[in-house]
Amino acid sequence: MSADTTHEPRRVLPRFPELDTEPFWEATKEHQLRYQFCEQCETVIFYPRAHCTKCTNTDLTWRTSSGEGAIYTYSVIRRSQHPSFMDMVPYVIAWVDLDETFRMLTHIVDVDPDDPESGLTIGARVQVHWIDRGQVSLPAFHLA
């Protein structure tokens, strides 16, 4: 564990080996937000898998996202009994639609959800905000 995890004693992180998502998380160490693309039928695949969900291609290409997108929906979690998250409340969980047309679950950080002037709304533009956690970096977002 690196020093900055002490405030979140048991932050939940992806676990390995897990072959579908390992390349995604490997790239996060370089602060690259990756998604998959099928060159045969031009379909965007996310979350990571080893097959195209539209055609029968099983050889997908990794691409790197700009990290820019918009909030599709969010909630402010004010109560959690999970030991890793109970002290983090309130925190903002969201679906973000990246400009490359994939949707991911994430946090919106650096925002006061109870400030009516914060700009936190559905449709707000956001930018990826990396949270380094040793073996991986978590792709959260902040308002753009």
């Binding site: 390995f16 979690i77 890793s84």
Partner: protein
């Protein structure tokens, strides 16, 4: 071979909501099965089809037949959360209707309250078993069951103009029905449900603690113990049963999940509903009672719209001013008090079938006069990420052989 008509011939709901460790889920399932069999005038030896989603034991396909000591022709362990039981009836209609078996048993038992399971805000999804691509992408963000439905609710309100006060009306109606149901009244006392033994108001809901915006504590179902059983039979058997048969007229199933560039607010009900109504040959407007899974108020509102009881965007007005109550004209919804106010041990889909059956037998505590057609609609999983929708249409008359 002529297709057989299929009916619900026996039901039982476990009365207590707080068992204090005095009974296990398996014991509850067996007790409820015994009472439901007595209700039908049947016994264990008549059962040749078993449907089980694994409450109380893993690998139910192996272990429930031996626990009950059954000699079966059909075993089905479809596990889709709270909607499992609607899927089970759908499959029983298929299996009994085709003549593969003649008497089906569904059981449920769970002690979420006694074992203090944090269903809504706990660690449910995390670090259970080996990682998979979904857990590896999502567990790190700490979603809770409530936040999953809250994210869905937020987008729903944004797209379709629903207000929090309108969602609150669904909880108010559930409590109105619960106060007429003695088992639910005991639950209100045993579980110390707010605001106590009086009618709930919209203000009560709006002033209750925010759990995950925009869902307040009273937008969320309760956590209780509970169990139940349903026995179904082919027409030959049903005609000789002790109880008045309640006919299964149609069934529909759907599983939906988050996708890229997709309308999250369209639920599986938009597929399972038309399938069930189509098979039954009835329109939503003909339905007297709708038992709609109410894990959260938004679960009901979205289902009412996607099942076609009202158009998308009209649900807010549809639920206002007590319109869902049993004693107002039009559709009656969740007449037992629902998961919001009667019982919710985690997967309450079986109670939708039981209360719909009571209505069509004329024995509900909030009885709709001359009830002829009812719907049981289950929603399992989370509307925000992955959910299953199962719709069953029930009637007092057998209808055509379909």
């Amino acid at each position: 071979m002529t297709r057989q008509r299929v009916a619900i011939v026996g039901v039982h709901e476990f009365p207590s909501r707080h068992t204090h460790g005095s009974i296990t889920p398996l014991q509850m399932k067996a007790q409820c099965a015994a009472r439901a069999l007595e209700d039908a005038g049947l016994s264990w030896g008549d059962i040749d089809a078993l449907y089980d989603d694994g409450d109380g034991i893993n690998w139910p396909g192996f272990y429930m037949p031996q626990y009950f000591d059954l000699d079966l022709k059909v075993v089905d362990t479809t596990t889709v959360g709270g909607s499992s039981f609607e899927f089970h009836v759908s499959h029983a209609l298929r299996d009994l209707g085709s003549g593969r078996a003649s008497v089906a048993l569904l059981t449920y038992g769970a002690t979420a309250r006694s074992s203090q399971t944090s269903i809504g805000t706990g660690a449910k999804y995390s670090e259970m078993g080996p990682p998979n691509p979904i857990s590896n992408m999502e567990d790190c963000w700490g979603p809770t069951l409530v936040s999953d439905y809250a994210q869905f609710a937020h987008r729903y309100m944004y797209d379709h103009g629903v207000r929090s006060e309108q969602l609150a009306e669904i909880a108010v109606t559930a409590r109105y029905h619960a106060l007429r149901n003695p088992d639910a009244v005991r639950a209100i006392e045993d579980l110390q449900l707010r605001p106590g033994s009086r009618e709930m108001t919209v203000d009560d809901v709006m002033n209750s603690r925010m759990v995950a915006d925009p869902l307040h504590a009273l937008d969320c179902c309760i956590i209780s113990d509970g169990g139940g059983a349903v026995v179904l039979a082919t027409e030959d058997v049903a005609r000789n049963c002790r109880s008045k048969p309640v006919w299964v007229l149609g069934a529909g199933e759907s599983v939906r999940y988050r996708r890229n560039v997709d309308d999250l607010t369209l639920t599986g009900a938009a597929r399972s509903g038309p399938a069930a109504f189509g098979q039954a040959g009835v329109q939503p407007g003909e339905i007297d009672i709708a038992m709609i899974y109410d894990s959260f108020t938004i679960t009901v509102l979205s289902a009412l719209e996607d099942l076609g009881f009202c158009a998308k965007g009209e649900g807010g007005g549809f639920v206002e001013d007590g319109r869902l109550r049993f004693d107002t004209p039009g559709l009656a919804v969740n007449t037992d008090g629902g998961g919001l106010s009667s019982n919710h041990p985690g997967q309450r889909g079986i109670f939708l079938l039981i209360e719909a059956t009571r209505q069509l037998r004329g024995t509900s505590t909030s009885q709709v006069p001359d009830a002829r057609l009812a719907v049981a609609h289950g929603t399992g999983g989370t509307l925000n990420r992955t959910h299953a929708s199962g719709t069953i249409v029930l009637g007092t008359e057998p209808g055509d052989r379909r």
